[in-house]
């Protein structure tokens, strides 16, 4: 008798759990799919929907780069190579090359955090495909650029001031834990 009860109970349990499961899967037919139809069928490009802290492909604003080499030194994978030449006559130092091999880059964000001016930073860009590995090396110096020297008492040149401001804003909001919403802004 007990065996019979177990037998019928097994059948009953199987049928009811399958019934339940099928009601769940059917109900998902009318619920919203989660797929983001990535390249074309989206309202706005994915890049624009990414959060500010998103660590995409590195970009460098050469105009505000001081050439301190902090990023090159901190990079655990040595994907950043910087060359600085000195003009013997004018004693003016300028970049000969500033290359980031995004083939190697592991998007850890250490370089962006350590940069004093916010010149090297992660962009929201992630579509970096190329037909050959050489295409993945980003050259930021096409013609010699002289090093940036932060002026005491703020930037005077309006275009440069804008750039410096962007860099500083990036540092404030992303690269330091004490940025807005950082220290003290917590609680729930």
């Amino acid at each position: 008798m007990k065996a019979l009860a177990a037998y019928v109970g097994n059948i009953f349990e199987t049928v009811t759990t399958i019934f339940e499961g099928m009601s769940i899967t059917l109900s998902h037919l009318v619920r919203r799919p989660m797929t983001v139809q990535y390249p074309d069928r989206i309202d706005k490009p994915v890049q624009e929907t990414l959060p500010l802290r998103y660590r995409g492909i590195l970009e460098v604003d050469m105009d505000i780069c001081t050439g301190c080499l902090a990023c090159e030194r901190v990079c655990p994978i040595t994907c950043i190579t910087i060359g600085i030449d000195m003009n013997k006559e004018t004693k003016q130092r300028s970049f000969s090359h500033f290359d980031i091999d995004i083939c190697k880059c592991m998007y850890c964000g250490l370089c962006a955090e350590i940069c004093p001016t916010g010149s090297i930073r992660h962009s929201q860009e992630f579509e970096g495909a190329s037909y050959n590995p050489a295409g993945l090396v980003r050259h930021f110096v096409t013609k010699p650029v002289s090093l940036y020297k932060p002026k005491k008492g703020g930037e005077t040149d309006p275009t440069m001031a804008k750039k410096a401001e962007i860099g500083q804003k990036y540092l404030d909001e992303f690269a330091t834990p004490e940025g807005p919403g950082g220290a003290g802004a917590g609680e729930g």
């Binding site: 899967t25 109900s27 998902h28 799919p33």
Partner: protein, 398 residues
Amino acid sequence: MQQFVDQLIQQGYFPGVPSQIVYALAMLLAAFVVLSVFVAPLAGVTSWLERRVWARMQSRVGPNRVGPQGILQWIADGIKNLLKEDIIPTAADKVLFPLAPYVVFVGFLCAFVVIPFGGSLIVADLNIGILYLLAVTSIVVVGILMAGWASNNKWSLLGGMRSAAQIVSYEIPAGLAVLTIVFVAGTMSTQGIIQAQGWAPWDWFFFYSPFTFVAFFLYFTAALAEGNRTPFDIPEAESELVAGYVTEYSGMRFLFFFFAEWGNLYIIGAVATILFLGGWQVPAIPWVTEQPVLKGILQFVVFFIKAYLWVFVSMWVRATLPRVRVDQLMALCWKYMVPLSFVCVVGTAAWMVVWPHGNRWASIAMFVIGVIILGVFGKRVGFQIRHSRPTLYLKPYI
């Protein structure tokens, strides 16, 4: 079909041609028409629909790029598969390996001989129709076993062995479930069985008695097992056996296996419709019955919808359930389904002794019970939607 060819011969369309050759040609033509006009698009569209339905159940979108809503995806897939290299492994059996997909395909295609498309649209109304159907669909297992053995791959072999054991076992509950209807209808002809039912749900054999009600589910479960569908897809269990017996196949031969699998779904639904759901029966409304073409179309539509409903259900089951293990599969068959189907057979026989012409009130009561179960189910679906992720998206397309 035969009358039609006879008429053509009598009218002198084929002077001097032996009638056998005309018959053979007519049969080939009919087979070609059925295959290219009905079966191939059906299997293809089923494959697309399964992916779409599956995707929506999994909160995805599914193929929607090729053609409107991706409905032409199956053509793209088919062409891609046809253009692929046809690899025959060095160690494979050179005769059986290429042959196996066609055996599977033949087994599935032959079933269309006795499956009606409407009241008068049937390739051949054999008087042993259902028996023929059971016999012919069993050819598939030979093909699968051939594929499993000839691939000379251990995964394929395991898949083939599992499939053989599974299909042979599940023939028994399927056959017994069919037998209950053969009892009630008193015929094995598919058209005869449909004619023994009416258009109204309570005239269907599904609601004839509690035993046929259970027999329907037994048949459907056994048919899923014979069609290697989840939860009984152990012969091609992709997480265990890579792809089972199709592991070594590529290109067109691979296509044929899946052609057969998706086409087979329709056969499962069609047989369920013939046996239990009143087939192509339409209400005898005068303005319908007076016009043969309209009636034919209506009958086809009714039959197709009923059959395709079960194709949808099998997709739905596949999206829901996990896979059973080999020994559990056998236990389910021999411990649960075979005894239950015997109960159904004996019960139906007893029922027929008590009420030789059926009990109309019992039928209506069974129908009401069926409606209540559906209602409970609908309520449950509503609960699921309210319970989590209640954002609805009622558009069937995206």
